[in-house]
């Protein structure tokens, strides 16, 4: 198990270096001078340009520049945003918790509901439930989340007035204590709902397929011959084994949700890294854009690593070797 964890970790490192290389490549392709590619079109003082040339060794050859680029990135030297007059790192760290709150809640919701929905056709047999779930999955893949967000706002916030329209806390008079948590949840509900739709569809589909495939395994025949009832077979043999493939897509779902926040945060005015990304795109502060992308990639790689380890812990075939 420790060996397995180490191997996974070693596999993750070149992946992250690859992402850094991809970003570097992208900067080389960006039209304009290399300095402009790095700082963007937002006006910066000339001294800063000189600092950039020095720090990134922009006067050197391409391979050397890549090494210095790596050096800077790995040391957390992500630059300064003149648009917000803060270091990019602190800018990110102020926005990141808000986004993570949204993404983690969305992933948990889609996991719980998705696994339940994927199992539903096995619990309630018949064409109707099965067809409804399958159709729901296909539709879930096709719904634009940002549009869903708008519709949710119109129906539940504006017409029914159940939830606030946007933001993550009231501008004045935020409640504290238990009331504060409740208030937080109120603000969270709609964005999380809209965000979780694609991941929900994905997890439901994988769970449904995996349950089907598990049911086709020969050890189900053995269980049947042992005299276990249908319910016992599902509980003891199908449930656990069919959950394993689902764990592997949770990391992927986390990634799609992470990307989805860019759109959802815009719709709901959520002060996370998605909004920050859009702001830096409109201001053309490239350093922030690059930093945000790498941050997202790093988080996704870590989440994938964690799900791999969970998978390893649950599957005895990996755990023991």
């Amino acid at each position: 198990m420790i060996l397995y964890a180490l191997r996974r970790l070693v596999q993750a490192i070149p992946l992250f270096l690859g992402v850094l290389f991809l970003m570097f490549l992208l900067l080389q392709l960006t039209p304009g001078s290399p300095i402009q590619a790095i700082v963007g079109r937002y006006p910066v003082p000339p001294e800063y340009r000189r600092i950039i040339v020095q720090e990134y060794h922009l006067d050197q050859s391409l391979p050397e520049r890549f090494v210095y680029w790596l050096w800077n990135m790995l040391h957390g030297n992500l630059g300064y945003s003149f648009g917000s007059h803060t270091a990019v790192t602190s800018l990110i760290f102020s926005a990141l918790p808000n986004t993570l709150l949204l993404v983690v809640c969305g992933t948990i919701l889609s996991m719980v509901v998705g696994i339940f929905l994927g199992f539903l056709p096995m619990l309630i047999r018949g064409r109707f439930v099965d067809g409804a779930v399958s159709m729901g999955v296909i539709t879930g893949f096709a719904i634009p989340t940002f549009w869903m967000g708008q519709i949710l706002i119109v129906v539940f916030a504006l017409k029914l007035k159940l939830f606030p329209v946007s933001g993550m806390s009231p501008l004045y008079g935020a409640a504290s204590g238990f009331g504060g948590i409740l208030q937080r949840l109120q603000y969270l509900t709609l964005p999380v709902l809209a965000l979780s739709i694609p991941a929900l569809a994905n997890i439901t589909r994988v769970q449904q397929q995996s349950a089907l495939e598990t049911l086709g395994n020969d050890y189900i025949v053995t269980a049947e011959l042992k005299g276990l009832s249908g319910g016992q077979i599902v509980r003891r043999h199908v449930l656990r084994n069919s959950l394993l493939p689902v764990i592997t897509v949770i990391g992927y779902s986390f990634g799609t949700s992470m990307a989805g926040t860019i759109l959802i945060e815009r719709v709901f005015g959520w002060p996370g890294i998605g909004n920050l990304l859009i702001l830096s795109i409109t201001r053309r502060t490239n350093q922030t854009i690059i930093a945000l992308t790498m941050m997202a990639a790093a988080i996704i790689i870590v989440v994938n690593l964690v799900t791999d380890l969970i998978y390893g812990a649950l599957d005895p075939r990996i755990r023991v070797t």
Partner: protein
């Protein structure tokens, strides 16, 4: 061991006083829908297994052996099923057409099954002990369950010192997995064990050991075994009686000794000839492969591969049962003249009276 030996004694006593057949399959016909076609997986199959008897069912790949076995334990593919006719009486209970709940009850303590590929028939994420415990009767105490599991594994040839019950299937070798499967099958204390190619996937040395274990269990517990295989060597070692199956039909039935000494059906003869050490010079060997079970004509199904085929073979061939209990589905059984002409059969046949034309339908 103590508890199981008690079970065995009670079991053999009932077997002694009850002389009726443990398993009777009569006129079993299983046709499957495969797309637009009908695959005749089994046609009018009759077979019997007496209590405590070891019976072989032998045939080439694709002859429908496994389908017969699956039908006996009630594992028929319900959706593809075109028709399923006949009777399967197991220990006095008709198994065919039972609803799943009663089928489960009917199987318990009567029949278990082991398979060719033990790896896929064991749940990979469950410990061996847990999987065996599931098959034990409910209502046992924790300690008792553990003792039973250990005893069962020991009977299957896995001594308690190995700690097999705490292992996962992937940690065991193929032979150990098959032994674990046997322990699992013994857990419900069945009167009949159906072994479907139990040693085909194993190494040759392990094959012999597993077979010895099965034979031992057969003798010790008085458990009847229906052994399905394509390996005549296994049959010779294990079985009292043999059924030969070809293309969904039983073509010959005999006790093992006489089958090997005097095979009556050309197919059986050629099958025996395909054994390396049994080969006699100049005798025919099997060529070609088994016919497509969805495109069968009305006549003898072996006709296309049979060296003795004649016009008569185009008619449907009944199973001819002889007075000594042997049976073969061949027209050669009818007239000694034909058989003499073919001069392929063994010469020392004294009872050359024409076989009774008992048609089993």
């Amino acid at each position: 061991m103590s508890s199981t030996s008690a079970d065995t004694s009670t079991f053999s006593s009932t077997a002694a006083e009850d002389d009726a057949k443990l398993l009777e399959v009569r006129g079993l016909t299983v046709h499957l829908n495969v797309r637009d076609r009908v695959v005749k997986a089994a046609d009018n199959v009759n077979l019997e297994v007496g209590a405590g008897e070891c019976v072989g069912l032998v045939g080439e790949s694709g002859s429908g052996k496994t389908m017969v076995a699956r039908t006996i334990v009630g594992l028929l593919p319900t959706v593809r099923l075109k028709c399923c006719d006949g009777e399967v009486v197991l220990d006095g209970t008709e198994m065919l057409g039972l609803p799943s709940k009663e089928l489960r009850r009917a199987r318990r303590g009567r029949v278990s099954m082991i398979f060719q590929e033990p790896t896929s028939y064991l749940n990979p994420t469950m410990r061996i002990g847990t999987q065996i415990a599931e098959a034990l009767p409910s209502g046992l105490g924790r300690m008792e369950v553990e003792d039973r599991i250990k005893a069962l594994l020991a009977q299957a040839g896995l001594p308690p010192g190995l700690g097999i019950e705490r292992r996962y299937p992937h940690q065991l070798s193929g032979g150990m997995k098959q032994r674990a499967m046997i322990a699992l099958a013994l857990a419900s204390n069945p009167k009949l064990l159906i072994a479907d190619e139990p040693t085909t996937a194993l190494d040759v040395t392990v094959q012999a050991q597993v077979l010895r274990t099965l034979k031992h269990l057969h003798q010790e517990r008085g458990m009847a075994i229906l052994l399905i295989t394509h390996d005549l060597g296994v049959i010779a070692e294990m079985c009292d009686r043999v059924y030969v199956m070809y293309a969904g039909e039983i073509v010959e039935a005999a006790d093992t000794m006489s089958l090997f000494e005097d095979p009556r059906h050309p197919y059986t003869r050629m099958l025996l000839n395909s054994l390396p050490h049994k080969r006699h010079e100049g005798e025919e060997v099997l060529k070609g492969s088994i016919p497509d079970l969805s495109m069968l004509g009305s006549g003898c199904r072996f006709m296309p591969r049979c060296p003795h085929a004649s016009e008569v073979c185009r008619d449907e061939q009944p199973l001819r049962v002889r007075t000594d209990g042997r049976a073969a589905r061949c027209v050669l059984e009818d007239s000694p003249a034909d058989r003499a002409a073919s001069n392929k059969g063994p010469q020392h046949r004294g009872d050359d009276a024409p076989a009774s034309r008992a048609v089993v339908r």
